[in-house]
Amino acid sequence: MALLEVKELGISFGGLRAVDDFHLTIEPGELYGLIGPNGAGKTTVFNLLTGVYKPTDGYILLDGENITGKKTIEINQHGIARTFQNIRLFDELTVLDNVKVGLHNHHGYSTLTGILRLPKYYRVEKEMNEKAMELLKVFDLDGEADYKASNLPYGKQRKLEIARALATEPKLLLLDEPAAGMNPNETQELMNTIRFVRDEFHMTILLIEHDMRLVSGICEKLTVLNFGQILTEGETSEVLNDPKVIKAYLGE
């Protein structure tokens, strides 16, 4: 069974049809790319998948469960986590705490337990610290665990965002332009990390990206979006050689 199945998804803002008749099927463990020119509606698709926008049409099935129209936090609890095009970290919190916020729903104790410092508080906090440090190590951020998140260099902030998303134990990870603003070395490193995440965590990943080196390097399948509609889809190498795609990117 497909992990994610989207059919006939659409949304209108006023009279504008931002996304129309969008469909997508992602199998477990796949590394899937969503590409297209600026303004094609890629981030809108992410926002629809994560409940930031409510779709006007269509449905979204995650692991066979209908999550269409659910709230962002419910969708996260169902197993979709994301990163953002413009990095959104908890700036004033430490790197470690950023990840611990991601662990929030899987490692619980009540507010009262926290205030009264009952034994459970210490036990769960220790658990969370270990888990978070483990994740930080994957992204080579363990040395900066005590830094304020906003003090991290740009590339590391992107990594921290992925680590935080993984902390919510998702089934599907959405990455919105993970390589934006990175230099070629950083991009190469990021590609390795994304592959590692997929293999190590058995993660299914859907990503939006403009960097074609990254897309062709790690994505197995692609969907190309143009003016809110699917232009084409399929195996990466086929899609990238499709004259329609080239035309959409370069113009007439």
């Binding site: 994560t50 930031v52 962002t72 936090i73 996260n76 609890q77 986590a81 994301r82 953002f84 959104r88 970290l89 908890f90 700036d91 004033e92 919190l93 430490t94 470690l96 705490d97 950023n98 611990k100 916020v101 991601g102 929030h104 729903n105 490692h107 619980g108 104790y109 507010t111 926290g114 205030i115 009264l116 410092r117 508080y121 769960v124 906090e125 969370m128 610290n129 440090m133 040395g143 900066e144 665990a145 005590d146 830094y147 304020k148 003090n151 991290l152 260099p153 740009y154 590339g155 935080r164 998303a165 902390a167 919510t168």
Partner: protein
């Protein structure tokens, strides 16, 4: 590394508790030695009230990142609910300690209830709107309390929103809440020691909450609401929690305040938005989000003008100037650049935490 971080937190918190206890001991010694003027002695309980208010408001303004201008309203609720209880049970519960303990619980619960009910609609708003609506609620609470007349006689409770006479009480009736005149004859249960104990309890609650899973969630929402939602944090729940706990602690401050006065009346001076703003000044000048700073600012800004009596006329003016200057210095782009260039850390050549990309 993480263990070091934990210790750093704990150490800082212990300093805060220690500071309060030390201040108490020093004051007690001075009082025993007769070195404290009656004026200053009279200020001690209000001072504790302000400290509790400032610390609790910091939970909303600093930790939750919402500007609330209605804190005095919650204090007002706590004060009136508890003073009413204490007056009513003056004869029934003769053990002063027990009665005051119950009064504190009632004041905290009443203020928490108001905080919760007001928080549900208010927290949907943001920024300036939230500030102005909390101010509005604070004023409404004050105004409504001013028109409540509540009495008790052999037939039970009587209430009126017009005047004491309209309650039609039996001759044996006693007016418990007398509209604008408020509540008279509240037992004088508050003391400096109790004030200090309540400060310590407030600190314990706020500090432990901030350094827990709950506090992290609240601060995550403050820093980036959309990201917090995306990792499954329930925004409404945690905002409301911070607001309610803060209101309830303000209620405790109200209990302390009410049981230090023989007459409690809701006036603009004590429960109006000016009071809310004064508490906000403490929080801002102590450093938004800095609990210890709130305490120090509340103490210094209350005591200093009283000790420098001659400056009293200029006191509010000084507050105003300091407030504006602080904001420009700490928050403006220019001020931040200045601070980075001339910060103490830089001057003493200590390693800056910031790592260049």
């Amino acid at each position: 590394m993480k263990i070091k971080a934990l210790n750093k937190h704990t150490k800082s918190n212990l300093i805060t508790y220690g500071m309060v206890i030390l201040a108490y001991l020093v004051m007690e010694i001075f009082m025993k030695a007769g070195m404290v003027s009656s004026l200053l002695e009279g200020l001690l309980v209000p001072l504790c009230t302000y400290v509790i208010l400032a610390v609790s408001l910091n939970l909303v303004v600093g930790i939750s990142g919402e500007l609330s201008l209605g804190h005095a309203g919650f204090m007002c609720v706590g004060a009136f609910a508890s003073a009413f209880f204490s007056n009513y049970t003056k004869e029934a519960i003769t053990v002063g300690g027990l009665r005051f303990f119950l009064a504190i619980l009632i004041g905290a619960a009443a203020a928490a209830l108001f905080g919760f009910l007001i928080g549900i609609p208010v927290l949907r708003l943001r920024g300036d709107y939230l500030a102005i609506v909390t101010l509005a609620f604070g004023e409404i609470i004050k105004n409504v309390i001013n028109v409540i007349f509540l009495g008790h006689d052999s037939r039970g409770f009587h209430i009126s929103f017009k005047d004491a006479f309209s309650m039609n009480m039996e001759p044996d009736g006693e007016v418990l809440i007398n509209g604008p005149q408020g509540i008279t004859g509240t037992p004088h249960d508050s003391s400096f020691l109790i004030g200090i104990i309540l400060i310590l309890i407030t600190l314990f609650i706020v500090i432990n909450m901030v350094n827990s899973r709950t506090g992290r969630a609240i601060m995550a929402i403050r820093d980036n609401r959309i990201a917090a939602e995306s990792v499954g944090i329930n925004i409404t729940k945690y905002k409301l929690l911070a607001f309610t706990v803060s209101a309830s602690l303000a209620g405790v401050a109200g209990v302390l305040y009410a049981h230090n006065l023989s007459t409690l009346a809701a006036q603009p001076k004590n429960f109006g938005y000016n009071m809310s703003i004064m508490i906000l000044v403490f929080v801002v000048l102590g450093g938004i989000g800095n609990i210890r700073g709130s305490i120090i600012a509340a103490v210094v800004l209350t005591l200093l003008p009283e000790l420098l009596r001659s400056l009293n006329d200029y006191r509010m003016l000084m507050y105003a100037v300091v407030l504006i200057a602080t904001m420009i210095f700490t928050s403006s782009p220019g001020g931040q650049a200045f601070r980075e260039r001339y910060s103490l850390k830089e001057l003493f050549g200590r390693k800056n935490e910031k790592k260049e990309a």
